[in-house]
Amino acid sequence: MAETATPIDKRPLVLLTPAFIAITALVVIPMSFILVYSFYENIDLAVDRVAFQFGNWEMLLSDNYYHSAIWKTLRISVVVTVLAAVLGYLPAYFIAMTTFRHKWLLLLLLILPFWVSFIIRTLSWIHILGNQGALNGLFQWLGLSDEPLRMMFNEFSVMVGLIHVFLPYMILNIYVSLEGIDRNLEPAARTLGATPWQAFREVTLPLSLPGLAAGSLLVFVLTGGSYVTPLILGGPSDFLFGNLIYDAVVTELNWPMGATLSFTLLVLLGSVVILYSRFMGLNQLSKAFG
């Protein structure tokens, strides 16, 4: 039987080429430079020697200072992600299910904070949680406390700041996933005898999981790479791995060590994406984005 040659469809290749070039030029090549720089040796402040040595990597692997920072970063990222998921699901569900005619207005309100600088939004918490902030003023006015409650410059305020900044990413992802669910499924479950809670738990929640997972991945990765929020809202003990990178690069002017730490953070957060891909499949992300 004669074989018929299947013509190769070149369109995917053509369409993917610009993205491939951009990712190579803007991510792969710079990260390769960073990896190479991690083997250089810092002789003095801002003075590096071209070398191929493992001193920076040895220090990273043997020094508990860095290990505790990694652990703290992962812990805070998990807590922020879980809280953002819990806090974000409700508004996303409300926006998706509402019969309000001007739903676009709700979505606009959701993205409105992005029009204000991230730094300003973070600083605003000082005026809410600070000693002379709105909350302490309210508590004292209501007679609930005589002295200001200490709510600022601790892990709590750092988490509040991170959730505040990243929550819209979570809500938008869940919302898009919920929007794609057939509205007839829940009523169908109800007609089969399910309670409203059962219908939600057995039908809506599983179908919205791709959005929840995509939002969680985004929030986790963004939190893991943060360093400004702990600087502004944290106390002496509240730092993330990103703060150690800032210290190495900016205050110690030790670029080889900064490169080592940066590459480590990339590998750590990249591993999370790979794990997500392994268990959820990255195609779930495209589902979540509609």
Binding site: L45, G130, E179, V250, T251
Partner: protein, 389 residues
């Protein structure tokens, strides 16, 4: 029933409508043309304005400490300079000179960076060591003759062939305390140890951005001469003790003022001028320099690649007694001008750290010879101690 329509569907529908002739092609292209003309016109105007601006004068990029310091420089130095010369000063705020050095190293060029409000002789040496310096023509800066010799000498010792900066102001990093919560007697009695007072736990602040500042106070608290530290472990033990009591390490003058003004902290080391600014605003904040407290001098450093003639013109303008005094009053730091040569008004004479003799012998400055060799190791050490290490 409303039907959900995504952008792709909307585009398909529009394309279909155009194809069917439901949308008037003339109107469609008319609108498109209007948008193009608007963009083109505004672009053209902007281009013409940019050309005009370039023809009008030279742009000088200045980076400084922000807050009241930047406000004083903008109001009393840069605005009058721009009006007088037609040149433009574009000022920005940095978190510290290490930030600028990182940027210059990353970019491989000094483009967009001309003049820095540089801190101390140590940083002057670092800029020179990294070959970012210039040789200023002092003939073009006649007002330099009024600057205190005691302030010029340390810089000239590093670059004997010519200065790359002009000394501009000086001050101290002492201790600020809230008089509603800490008495003057207690502050005077404890001196530098006020920062280690356990009764004030959670109400103490500290400057996190400079390892040498923390080490200076650690040396004072451990009974050592800050310019001749022998026992670094004792210094960091005191820093750890301080850390346990600290609510927040601040990173900028604006943050320092905010924390003190809002009474988040009651005690911290602080920059004299910033405290003077708070006092002027009516806050109950007092300031003291403990024995052997840290003094520093700042310069206006010109980076390599800057338009030298215009930079020299600006520096001379800034050192003009009228300008320098107005800036000193505004930023609350005494001017580098010698008070024995230029009469200082009462407002300047009352500023913290002001030295009427013009010799600065009563102030203790950081000796770069003894401090710089320790910077790499001890700077990294401070970052660890600050984070609980």
């Amino acid at each position: 029933m409303t039907r959900k329509m995504d952008s792709t569907k909307r585009y398909e529908k529009l394309r279909e409508a155009v194809g069917n002739g439901d949308v008037d092609r003339r109107t469609f292209f008319g609108l498109l043309g209007s948008a193009g003309i608007t963009a083109g016109l505004s672009g053209g105007i902007m281009t013409a304005m940019a050309k005009q601006a370039r023809a009008a004068g030279v742009e000088l990029h200045f980076e400084g400490w922000g807050g009241v310091v930047s406000e004083a420089l903008r109001k009393h130095a840069f605005d009058p300079y721009e009006a007088a010369t037609g040149n433009k000063v574009i000022d920005a705020t940095f978190g510290g000179e290490n930030e600028v050095l990182t940027k210059l190293k990353a970019a491989g060029s000094t483009s967009g960076h001309n003049i820095l409000h540089s801190s101390g002789v140590s940083w002057y040496k670092r800029w020179v060591d990294n070959d970012f310096h210039v040789v200023l023509n002092e003939d073009n800066i006649p007002n330099l003759k009024n600057v205190m010799t005691a302030m010029i000498e340390p810089f000239r010792a590093i670059t004997p062939d010519g200065l790359s900066a002009v000394p501009y102001d000086y001050g101290t990093t002492g201790i600020a305390y809230n008089t509603n919560h800490v008495s003057k007697e207690k502050a005077m009695e404890l001196g530098a140890d006020l920062l280690l007072d356990k009764e004030l736990k959670g109400k103490i602040g500290g400057w996190g951005g400079d390892w040498a500042n923390r080490a200076w106070y650690g040396a004072l608290q451990s009974g050592q001469d800050p310019n001749d530290i022998q026992d670094w472990d004792a210094v960091w033990d005191k820093a750890r003790e301080h850390r346990e009591l600290v609510l927040k390490y601040w990173g900028s003058g604006a943050e320092l003022m905010d924390l003190l003004a809002k009474e988040e902290i009651w005690v911290t080391e602080a920059w004299s001028g910033r405290v003077a600014a708070l006092q002027a605003q009516g806050h109950p904040i007092a300031y003291m320099d403990p024995p052997n407290g840290l003094a520093w001098m700042e310069s206006m450093f010109v980076l390599k690649g800057s338009p030298l003639a215009e930079a020299e013109e600006l520096l001379n303008f800034m050192l003009d007694p009228e300008t320098a005094i107005a800036v000193a009053v505004g930023q609350k730091y005494p001017s580098s001008l010698d008070p024995t040569k230029v009469e200082m008004p009462e407002e300047v004479q009352n500023l913290p750290a002001f030295d009427p003799t013009g010799k600065l012998e009563a102030l203790v400055f950081r000796n770069p010879e003894t401090w710089n060799p320790h910077e790499k190791k001890q700077g990294a050490m401070w970052n660890r101690v600050q984070k609980g290490g």
